[in-house]
C-alpha cells in the first residue's frame, strides 16, 4: 500500500510498512549549497539532456547566459535600492555605459578585456558618483523620473553622435573573450564566466547586507530620517552605495559587449528591457538577492520559450505572463519559500515613503 502523507514541513511516504520521510521545510536544507550545486551543474546537465533528445543546446546555453546577465544587473540594483531607499528606473543606462566603454576601448584602442572590465567598472562608478547627488536631492517619484530620463538621454546622445556610437548598428569588432572555434565550448566558457561574476556579486551583496553597514542600509531603506536621527551618516552611505552599485551594473554591459562581439546601445536602452530588469528585481522577492537568481532564470527561460514558440506574438505573451506574475506573487518567488522570520530583516521596497512628521 502506498500512501503519501503531507505534513507540516515534511512529506511522508508510506510504502507497505516502511516509512520514508522527507523534510520539505526549507529551513533545514543546506539551501545555499544545494542552490549552488544546481546552478553549477545546470549547463552540463542541460547539454547532455539536450543531446540525448536531439535538441540543439546552443539556444539553451545562451538562455542560461542571458539569465546570468540579468542577475548580474539585478543583484547590484537591489543592493542599490536598499542602500539608497530609492527605486532606480534607469539601471539599463549603466548597462549601456559599461557596454559602450568596453566596446569603444576594445574596438578603437585594442584594449585587453581585463582592462576594459576595470575601465567599465570605474567609469560606471564615476558616472554613478557624478549622479549620486540626486539620491540626496530627490526622492520618491521624482527620483524615479530623473532616473527614468537617463536612458532616454543616452539614447538621444547615441543617435546624435552615431559616428562614434553607431546608433542602431552598434559598435562591431569588439574582442571576444573566448574563441575556440567550437560554439558549444565557447558558450560553456561564457556561462561559467557569467556564473562566476554573478556568484561573486551575490556573495559580496550577501556579505554587505549581513554586515553592520547592510543593517544601516536597511534602516535607510525603511526611513532615512530615523537613520539620521540616530547617528547614521545617511548621505555617505547613499553616495557610496549608488556609486559602487552603478559600477557593478556596468559590468553587465562589459560582459555583453565582449560576449556578443559588439555593443548596440539602443537594443538595451529600451523600456522593455527596463521592465524585464524591474520585474526580475521585484519578482525575486522584494530585496531578496537569492530570489533574484531564481527570477532571472524564470524570466530568461520564459523569454526564450515565448520567443521560440510564439514568434511574432512572443513579446505580448511574455509581458502578459509577467503582468500576471505581478498579480499572483506579491511577495515574489522568494516569498514562496521564505518563512516569516522576524530575526532576519527583510527589506520592503516602496517608492513613496512617509513625509516629514
Amino acid at each position: 500500500m502506498v500512501r503519501l502523507e503531507p505534513r507540516r514541513g515534511r512529506l511522508i511516504l508510506h510504502l507497505a510498512r516502511r516509512k520514508f520521510d522527507w523534510v520539505i521545510e526549507t529551513r533545514y536544507w543546506r539551501n545555499p549549497t544545494i542552490g549552488f550545486l544546481i546552478w553549477l551543474l545546470l549547463p552540463i546537465v542541460i547539454y547532455y539532456f539536450a543531446s540525448l533528445i536531439g535538441l540543439k543546446p546552443v539556444a539553451l546555453l545562451s538562455t542560461l547566459i542571458s539569465a546570468n546577465i540579468l542577475a548580474m544587473i539585478c543583484i547590484p540594483l537591489t543592493l542599490q535600492i536598499i542602500g539608497t531607499g530609492r527605486v532606480n528606473f534607469g539601471p539599463h543606462f549603466f548597462v549601456a555605459i559599461g557596454g559602450y566603454v568596453a566596446a569603444l576601448l576594445s574596438k578603437n584602442f585594442d584594449v585587453h578585456p581585463a582592462l576594459t572590465l576595470f575601465t567599465a567598472f570605474a567609469f560606471g562608478c564615476l558616472i554613478g558618483l557624478a549622479l549620486s547627488p540626486i539620491t540626496i536631492i530627490s526622492k520618491g517619484l521624482y527620483f524615479v523620473l530623473i532616473t527614468l530620463l537617463l536612458p532616454f538621454i543616452l539614447w538621444e546622445f547615441v543617435y546624435w553622435r552615431s559616428d562614434i556610437f553607431g546608433a542602431e548598428t552598434g559598435i562591431p569588432g569588439v574582442e571576444l573573450l573566448f574563441w575556440t572555434g567550437d560554439l558549444i565550448t565557447d558558450l560553456m566558457y561564457y556561462f561559467y564566466l557569467s556564473f562566476i561574476i554573478t556568484f561573486v556579486l551575490l556573495l559580496i551583496s550577501d556579505r554587505v547586507l549581513r554586515s553592520r553597514y547592510g543593517f544601516l542600509m536597511g534602516v535607510i531603506n525603511e526611513d532615512e530620517e530615523i537613520a539620521a536621527t540616530y547617528g547614521t551618516n545617511v548621505n555617505r552611505i547613499k553616495i557610496i552605495t549608488f556609486t559602487l552599485t552603478s559600477g557593478a551594473i556596468a559590468i553587465a554591459g562589459w560582459f555583453l559587449a565582449h560576449y556578443q562581439g559588439s555593443f548596440t546601445g539602443p537594443a538595451w536602452l529600451t523600456p522593455a528591457f527596463l521592465v524585464i530588469i524591474l520585474l526580475t528585481t521585484t519578482l525575486g522577492g522584494k530585496g531578496a538577492i537569492y530570489g533574484i537568481v531564481i527570477s532571472s532564470y524564470v524570466i530568461a527561460i520564459l523569454r526564450e520559450v515565448t520567443r521560440t514558440t510564439l514568434g511574432e506574438f512572443s513579446t505580448v505573451a511574455l509581458f502578459t505572463i509577467l503582468l500576471i506574475f505581478l498579480y499572483l506573487l506579491p511577495e515574489g518567488f522568494w516569498g514562496l519559500y521564505r518563512k516569516k522570520r522576524y530575526r532576519e530583516y527583510a527589506p520592503s521596497i516602496r517608492i513613496r515613503r512617509r513625509e516629514v512628521t
Binding site: 530620463l149 532616454f152 543617435y159 546624435w160 523600456p271 509581458f319 503582468l323 498579480y327 516602496r350 517608492i351
Partner: protein, 288 residues
C-alpha cells in the same frame, strides 16, 4: 536666427507639447501617480480610428468619433486593472503600467505593422502658413490652436464645475477629501477618462505631419514626461510654463544647432533643472 521663427515655433511646439502633456499632468495631479501607460493612449486613439475606418468600414468622420470609446475604455481599464490593485505598491504599479504600454504597442505592431502604412487623413489646413519670416505647416498651427483650446476648456472644467472642484480638492489634500466622503474610485476613473482625451486629439491632428508607426507612443510620451516633470508633476501652471520652455529650447536648438539634438537638449535641461529644483518649476501642491 530670426526671432520671429523662434517665437512662432516656440508657440507651435509649446502648444503641442502642452496638449501631449495635459492628460498626463491631470493624472499626476489628481491621482498622484505616474501613469506610465499614458503613451499607449496615443496608439489606441490612432489605431482605433484606422480600425473603425478600414476594418469595420465606417466613414472616416464616424470612426474619428467612435475612436474615443476605446480610448476612454482603455483609460478606465488602466485604472481598474492596474492602478487600483497596486496603489499601495508603487514599484509594482509603475512596472505594471510600462508592461501594459508594451503589450499594447506589441499588439498593435502585430496587427498593423509599419508596412500596413496606417495614415489618418485629418489634414484640415493645406500647405504652410507664413507668419512674418516664418513658415509653419498649417496643420501644426491648427493642432496648436486646438491644444490651446483644450487647455482653456480643461481649466474652465477645473475652476467652474463641481467635479473639477472635487478633483482639485483631492489633489490638494487626499486625506481630508477622504474624510469628507469623496468617492475616490469614481473620481479617479473620471480623471483617467478625461485625461485620455487630449492625447487622442493630439495624435489624430498631428498624424498627417508626424510619421505614424506602432512605436510612435514613446517619442510623444517622452515629451509628455519632460513637460510634466519640469512643470512640477501635476501642476497645470507649471506644466504650461514648462511646455513653452521646452518649446523654446526645441525651436532654438532645432533651427540653430541640430534638429537631432532637440530631444537630447530638452532632456538634459530637464534633468539639470530637476537637480536644482527637485520638485520642478511649480511645487505640485495642487493641480491649479
Amino acid at each position: 536666427m530670426d526671432p520671429t521663427i523662434a517665437l512662432v515655433y516656440t508657440f507651435v511646439f509649446g502648444s503641442l507639447y502642452l496638449g501631449m502633456a495635459l492628460g498626463f499632468t491631470i493624472i499626476a495631479g489628481v491621482l498622484r501617480i505616474f501613469n506610465l501607460a499614458y503613451g499607449a493612449l496615443f496608439l489606441v486613439a490612432a489605431y482605433s480610428v484606422w480600425f473603425f475606418w478600414k476594418d469595420v468600414g465606417l466613414t472616416f468622420g464616424i470612426s474619428l468619433i467612435l475612436a474615443f470609446i476605446p480610448v476612454a475604455a482603455f483609460a478606465a481599464f488602466t485604472y481598474l486593472a492596474v492602478v487600483r490593485p497596486f496603489i499601495r505598491t508603487e514599484d509594482y504599479m509603475l512596472a505594471a503600467l510600462i508592461c501594459v504600454f508594451i503589450i499594447v504597442e506589441e499588439i498593435i505592431n502585430y496587427f498593423y505593422p509599419e508596412i500596413v502604412g496606417v495614415y489618418l487623413p485629418t489634414k484640415v489646413a493645406e500647405g504652410t502658413v507664413k507668419i512674418g519670416t516664418a513658415s509653419v505647416p498649417g496643420q501644426m498651427l491648427f493642432a496648436a490652436a486646438v491644444s490651446l483650446t483644450m487647455i482653456v476648456i480643461y481649466l474652465l472644467f477645473f475652476i467652474k464645475t463641481k467635479t473639477g472642484l472635487i478633483m482639485r480638492a483631492i489633489s490638494q489634500d487626499p486625506y481630508a477629501s477622504k474624510i469628507v466622503g469623496v468617492n475616490f474610485d469614481k473620481m479617479f476613473v473620471i480623471s483617467m477618462v478625461i485625461a485620455s482625451i487630449p492625447p487622442a486629439m493630439i495624435i489624430i491632428l498631428i498624424a498627417p505631419v508626424w510619421a505614424l508607426d506602432p512605436f510612435v507612443g514613446w517619442s510623444l510620451f517622452s515629451y509628455a514626461i519632460i513637460v510634466t516633470v519640469l512643470g512640477g508633476l501635476g501642476n497645470l501652471k507649471g506644466t504650461i510654463i514648462a511646455a513653452y520652455i521646452i518649446g523654446f529650447i526645441n525651436a532654438t536648438v532645432g533651427f540653430l544647432i541640430d534638429p537631432r539634438m532637440m530631444l537630447f537638449s530638452s532632456l538634459v535641461i530637464t534633468v539639470a533643472v530637476l537637480v536644482v529644483k527637485p520638485k520642478g518649476l511649480a511645487r505640485a501642491e495642487s493641480i491649479w
